[in-house]
Symmetry: C2
Subunit: 196 residues, 2 copies
């Protein structure tokens, strides 16, 4: 099983960003430029991103816009939603606020998915989505590089009194990405149509 995962990921890396080190992609470990715990977190963020890019590699506009049924989100919309969620957690954890009006406008329908997203998020090439993802990720890595392991333990209180620490919030960012990547993989098979 491990061997299969690795073969798939090596393939993915040919299309992945230069920010990730191919050599160490299967190590959750310290990383240069980050404190020890943040390095492990960034290892996970990097690996997950490589799998997302792999899951969409080579898709055309028709496949990115494909709607499986009336409730479905397109693959393109899911990619933009992944980026928008990360931007939301940047605001929450780096600046202690929600998205401001300008940011909400910039992300638009990608924040909430649904009917408006089905109508508005269409017609873009893959590069458009990958660029949005990479722009947000660049900021995430720059900000994480300025923080310490102690910051990961900082917590805020949820409305119901639960402690939520920064490590959880960033764990949630990549978990959210994997969740939608699972849907993207499922949709990709159907978007391609039946084998000819």
């Amino acid at each position: 099983m491990v061997a299969l995962v690795i073969a798939t990921r090596l393939h993915a890396l040919r299309n992945a960003t230069a920010r990730m080190s191919e050599k160490d992609l299967f190590l959750i470990a310290e990383l240069p430029g980050f404190t020890p715990q943040i390095g492990r977190l960034v290892s996970m963020l990097n690996y997950v991103r490589s799998t997302t890019l792999s899951a969409v590699a080579g898709l055309g506009v028709g496949e990115l816009d494909y709607l499986h049924d009336a409730q479905s989100n397109s693959i393109g919309t899911l990619l933009l939603h992944i980026a928008a969620a990360e931007a939301g957690y940047q605001a929450a954890t780096f600046y202690g606020r929600g998205l401001d009006e300008e940011e909400k406008q910039a992300w638009g329908a990608a924040l909430d998915l649904g009917e408006r997203a089905r109508r508005e998020i269409r017609g873009h090439e893959l590069d458009y989505y990958v660029n949005r993802l990479e722009h947000v990720r660049g900021k995430t890595l720059a900000e994480l590089g300025r923080r310490t392991d102690e910051w990961l333990d900082d917590w805020t209180s949820s409305g119901s009194g639960q402690k939520v620490n920064n490590y959880f919030k960033w764990f949630h960012v990549f978990g959210h990405e994997i969740n939608h990547r699972g849907q993207i993989r499922w949709l990709r098979v159907r978007a391609a149509g039946p084998p000819s």
Copy 2:
């Protein structure tokens, strides 16, 4: 966004296992009974499991067996596949081997999914799947509780010469679970049929 996540998870916890502490579910942090790094890893494993159980709470046999199309896996099969993958990584990381013949037989079609799984994995109540998941997880936690942070850094070499450490392998276990949980959520909406 954080508030929404928390509300959803608190709901989930009412159905989740007693092994998780409701108080600390949103902290990725040290945990009693585990070394510091392993505690963080177990925090992630626990949280992901709570979301999986939440995603299937209340499903009946018909929904667990639902096949969306000829290529789909049922929700029940995906649950068993999550447990089987975890058992595979137990063998790999705790005992340095693949699944043996007896284990392969016990997991059967859940390992590979596909046509055989569609035929064979059917007719079980939710409890059946949850019990399989919990049985495997109990062993995972017991074994992780006997290991140290240094063990997480131990690596094996993939066929192509990549280093893969134990932290990566267990990160992959919960990432694999989230991936299929994303598909389970998607399928659950369709398995319930159109709103009446």
